[in-house]
């Protein structure tokens, strides 16, 4: 392999990595927001992404919706399910030991996965083609229209999220609750409602990621959320958990690293790469790339 084709392959993997990474970023945002606000690793988040993909599948195949209505539909469905999960499983445990909440989150995740298998059968389904695929050849590198759509939609959603969090009243309340829950409550913020709202936003972003993945890989199944869910968590940790721009950068970075590993080393090591990054980050810079160092109080 000469050097010019090597650079070409490098840039090709970079493109693949960015489009995969923007999906991780969308899921990671939900993790990071929920963690920022109630310090919970919501293991069920990856399964919300699966649920979003299925909602999109049913919307497009049975209700014959086109792409944008289906996207909105599945985001709304996921938001409702996210709020329900928070209300039924996590709210009764507010103030319980962390380990209890974490085990509940694992339980919810298993319930969605295997409940999903019972409801929609474990067979993978073919996601309908919503766009005609055009491939662009750009200086020897191949970019297809789906990758452009994925990147475009992800960036748009991230932009909207940043606007909501930074410029609106609800966003201000979210930041307040995340900074100091008790003080926020004293200031008259309805903390439970804000937490509910955070779950809704996070879940809808995951659902959007689910539809985009459906379009990209053409295939969805009830257990599809496990690995991307874990990896998105790695992305959130990489960027600094609780920090919204961190999740975006962490997601794209992770996607790129994975693409490079599978392109230049071996695709079987792709999954290990994410976990190795996780452990290295946790050991050497647990606050992540963008996080602030907070000392644990006695």
């Amino acid at each position: 392999m000469d050097s010019s084709s090597l650079t070409q392959q490098f840039f090709q993997q970079l493109i693949n990595g960015v489009s995969l990474g923007s999906i991780y970023a969308l899921i990671a945002l939900g993790y990071t927001m929920v963690y920022g606000i109630i310090r919970l690793i919501n293991f069920a988040h990856g399964d919300i992404y699966m649920l979003g993909a299925y909602a999109g599948y049913f919307a497009t195949t049975y209700f014959k919706m086109s792409f944008f209505p289906a996207l909105i539909f599945s985001m709304v469905v996921a938001a409702i399910v996210g709020m329900l999960i928070e209300r039924l499983a996590y709210r009764p445990l507010r103030g319980a030991p962390k380990i209890a909440i974490l085990i509940t989150a694992i339980g919810v995740s298993l319930l969605l996965e295997y409940g999903g298998i019972i409801l929609v059968t474990p067979q993978p389904r073919t996601f309908p083609e919503l766009f005609s695929t055009t491939t662009f050849n750009f200086m020897g590198m191949i970019v297809n229209s789906q990758q452009i759509v994925i990147l475009g939609i992800s960036l748009a959603l991230m932009f909207i999220l940043t606007y909501v969090v930074n410029k609106t009243k609800v966003g201000k309340a979210m930041r307040a609750v995340s900074f100091d829950t008790d003080a926020a409550r004293l200031m008259g913020i309805n903390v439970d409602r804000i937490i509910s709202f955070t779950f809704a936003i996070g879940s809808s972003l995951a659902a959007a990621a689910g539809i985009l993945v459906g379009i990209y890989y053409n295939s969805i199944d009830p257990l599809m959320g496990i690995m991307p869910g874990l990896k998105a968590f790695v992305a959130a940790v990489l960027g600094g958990i609780g920090v919204i721009p961190g999740a975006m950068v962490g997601g794209i970075l992770l996607g790129v690293i994975e693409a490079l590993v599978s392109g230049f080393l071996s695709s079987t090591f792709r999954d290990a790469a994410a976990f190795i990054i996780l452990i290295v980050i946790l050991l050497f810079k647990p606050s992540g790339l963008f996080g602030k160092n907070i000392r644990e109080k006695v």
Binding site: I41, L93, I99, G107, L111, Y114, T268, A274, F275, V298
Partner: protein, 320 residues
């Protein structure tokens, strides 16, 4: 001290009686081969649950990478018996040793992490172990290590289980075990009292890993095969469910839960997805209504049985 020895001795006698009883039932074919398989599985699951309970329940270090150590034990023991032609006992010991070394090597850096970070890191490590094994052609790669002789029988599984339970029970009741419990209760206070928290966390982790390795060795020598797909983090969740259901910090709880859940999964063998749905609902409901598990951190032992059998007087006398 003598009372303790006496209690241990009577427990041992009870165990041997149980062993003989099950053995007779098996020989006379009252227990068919399907249930024989489940009884061996129960023994293996008890080893896994009790060893994880030492890490998660008693020392309070939330680990979801237990299946990884089980995998190391399964493969290492199989390599010893199949590739090197050693005896089964040597294989089990090698499996336990390899898992212990790995547990030590992993535990030393990661146990600085706390709570959910530790959980996710151990989950990641378990997966890294599995993916690494998947990429070693020497042990069969993705198709698994096949042709393992079936050395595990009820006797091996039962006595490995008894040794595990006794070892961990005595460890907990020793001063080292008390140090571990103090870390669970309050790490900062334990450290202030002079407990070397890192040391005890790593000790608990290493012992837990070693016994997971034993369980892995028994597992692979019962099912003729060591396959990477048997040791995903779903297996770790299975073990965690047993520990949580029985009660974090209760050995008898773990034993009861392991028996119960093995029976449930045997009964639902033809509907595997329902099994997981029931597991997951159990976890959620348990955490909301009884977060301490069935037994909390209490133990039921022979004392209760003697109280039931020999009337209240005898039990009350022993209590004093």
């Amino acid at each position: 001290m003598r009372i303790k020895m006496k209690r241990d001795l009577s427990a041992l006698v009870a165990c041997i009686a149980l062993y003989l009883l099950v053995m007779v039932l098996m020989e006379t074919e009252v227990i068919g081969s399907y249930w024989q398989l489940n009884i061996v599985l129960i023994c293996i699951n008890i080893i896994l649950a009790v060893s994880l309970n030492l890490i998660t329940g008693f020392t309070g270090q939330f680990s979801i990478g237990h299946a990884g150590f089980m995998a190391v034990g399964a493969y290492m023991s199989a390599v010893f018996t199949v590739k090197l032609g050693m005896s089964f006992g040597a294989g089990i010991l090698a499996g336990a040793g390899a898992a212990a070394i790995l547990g030590f090597a992993i535990g030393l850096p990661t146990l600085r992490l706390q709570g959910d970070y530790l959980a996710i890191a151990t989950l990641g490590l378990g997966e890294i172990i599995r993916i690494t094994i998947l990429n070693i052609p020497y042990v069969g790669g993705a198709s698994g290590l096949m042709g393992i002789p079936r050395y595990t029988n009820f006797t091996w599984a039962f006595f490995a289980m008894i040794i595990t339970v006794f070892f961990i029970k005595n460890f907990i009741n020793s001063s080292h075990g008390r140090a571990c419990i103090s870390i669970r209760e309050n790490e900062i206070a334990a450290e202030a009292m002079g407990v070397d928290t890192t040391k005890y966390k790593v000790i608990a982790f290493t012992i837990g890993a070693a016994f997971a390795g034993v369980a892995g060795g028994l597992f692979s020598h019962y099912f003729y095969i060591a396959h990477p797909a048997s040791f995903t983090f779903m297996k770790s969740f299975d073990i965690l469910t047993m520990v949580v259901l029985g009660g974090l910090g209760s050995i008898s709880g773990s034993i009861t839960a392991a028996i119960l859940l093995t029976f449930i999964s045997a009964a639902l063998a033809s509907y595997p997805e329902w099994r997981m749905v029931i597991y997951s609902l159990m976890l959620i409901i348990l955490m909301i209504y009884r977060p301490q598990g069935l037994f909390g951190n209490k133990e039921i032992g022979l004392k209760i049985f003697s109280r039931i059998l020999g009337g209240g007087q005898h039990g009350a006398a022993q209590n004093k």
